[in-house]
Amino acid sequence: MSDAAFTDEALPVVIIGAGPAGLHAAVQLAKAGVRSTVVDENPRAGGVVYRGPLRQGAQASHLEQTWKSRVEALKEEVARYASFIDLRLSTQVLGPMHGLTRLALLENHERFSTVSAERLILCTGCLEWSAPFPGWTLPGVMTVGGAQLQIKSGLVRPGGRAVLVGTGPLLLVAARQMHAAGIDVRGVFEAGRRIDLVRNVSSLLKNNPLLREGLEYISYLGRAGIDMRYGWGVVQARGEGRVQEVVVAPYDRDWRPVMSKAITIEADLLATEHGLIPRTQLSQLLGLDHTDCHGIGRKPVTTAWGRTSRPGIYVAGDAAGVYGSQAAAEAGRLAALAYLTDTGKLSAELADREARPLQRRHQSYVEFRDAFDTFSRIRKGLLDLPESDTIICRCENVTRAQIDQSIACGTCDVTTLKMTTRAGMGDCQGKVCSGYLYARLQAKLGRSDVGELRPRFPLAHVTLGSLVSASRGGAGT
């Protein structure tokens, strides 16, 4: 079956991802009179952060008013320019085929088609860096982001009694949302040490609104009587067929649990958040140059305006380095300005003038996040949490012992690690375990260059039936 068998649609600019970066890029283009196509695999626009309740008639009184206003504002802004924005939801990008900018799409999980885009703006967002620990594959262990989506978009409690572990501001946000949703929050354990926050207080103070939001969350948890501890983290989850108990302990400087002070908490939901990494599967398949991202992932090499190593392909938002939704909005606008300049629709001087305030705001969010990085950066003790028989690759059941044995036998790059153990070879294509594989290899070998785990086309499952019916359609039968 040749590529020509499939119907193709020529489009000037396709934006991948309808989160804050993608939508703001589309709006910026629309303001300049440029039509764009925005593709997102989810049934609703907004990205994980601004998707909003999925069911009709929801009151969502457990959610913060400021967040609800932001969801509405974004929705209204996109609606205002609706005639310029061709929004295609429930549409997954499977990857490039036959030329870099011809993308294979799968709509509603079954309808296959392709689009040929003159230019692409990738706004694929981020995913959570997973720290494996004994019991992390038990039902009831979820990423903080996943638990939040159930509360914010599903309006359903993913558990009744929750423990939150890991690091970063999302822990506070999620703990508050869980409490407001009626979940018994049994404790919030932040691995970072308070002293590392205090040391960076001057950078944090530069971004007052974000700092104020953070302090509001902390005082909410205090008023609710929720146990919040700094310098503490997860040891293991235990239970028969699901999480029933969570063991937490104080962490030392290297984030090794001090077991003599460990405590056990009864819970049916363990939400984990150890950092976010750019979602690079598509940018990797497109052959963009990538570089290391904090030793736990990869990120495409980009300029301040989102230009990449390939002309005509831009990357914006968390997909280029994780700085949060507000930075992503500015990055989306900047990538749109780069597009407008590169296609001769806007003069370099005008673009520069428009970009200045965007860059200034973007920089303030970047500085705020960087201040958290010293506090939240993964310490190497965390990598020793899994026991030898703990599963690292959830798809292929590859254990820590198998990973370490391969490294002991001379494996010094992540591709060889994948081939010798099957880690990263399963259904998720290594999106969940690759972060640990990069970090483990780097820690064991004492060097940062351990190669890149390559994703494969198609990026999501596609049935043969979908391909066959698409090619018949293309032949006009």
Binding site: E41, N42, P43, V48, L54, R55, Q56, G57, A58, Q59, A60, S61, H62, S90, H109, E110, L127, E128, T137, L138, P139, G140, V141, M142, T143, G145, G146, A147, L149, Q150, I151, S153, G154, L155, V156, R157, P158, G160, A181, G182, G241, R242, R279, I391, R394, C395, E396, N397, G426, D427, C428, K431, V432, H461, T463
Partner: protein
């Protein structure tokens, strides 16, 4: 099975979905994963090695909530919206069954 984990009562349209032979009530617009969690069902999938899993990332990344929907295997419950009359089979993995399973 009854809904037990709703944060607020259902007020909009509802649809009926068949899960492992049992009819359940779902809010129109919600995902299959949300419907399962609303009913307290946490045991959702088996990976290719027969290992029991539940939603881990909840946002389409990890494939730990794949179920059989209307005879198609390995559909991510977190990414699919419920439809009236939909048939969902949980904890089913054809690959695992075909190779006999190692765990």
């Amino acid at each position: 099975m009854r809904r037990q984990n709703d944060i607020e009562p259902l007020t909009g349209d509802v649809v009926t979905v068949n899960v492992d032979g049992v009819e359940i009530t779902c809010a129109a617009g919600e995902t299959v994963l949300t419907a399962l969690l609303a009913h307290g069902q946490l045991a959702i999938a088996r990976n290719d090695h027969g290992h029991l899993t539940s939603a881990y990332c909840g946002m389409g990344v990890c494939y730990c909530c794949v179920v059989k929907i209307d005879d198609v295997d390995k559909r991510r419950a977190c990414q699919l919206i419920v439809r009236d009359g939909m048939r969902v089979i949980t904890q089913h993995n054809n690959h695992h069954l075909a190779i006999g399973g190692d765990k």
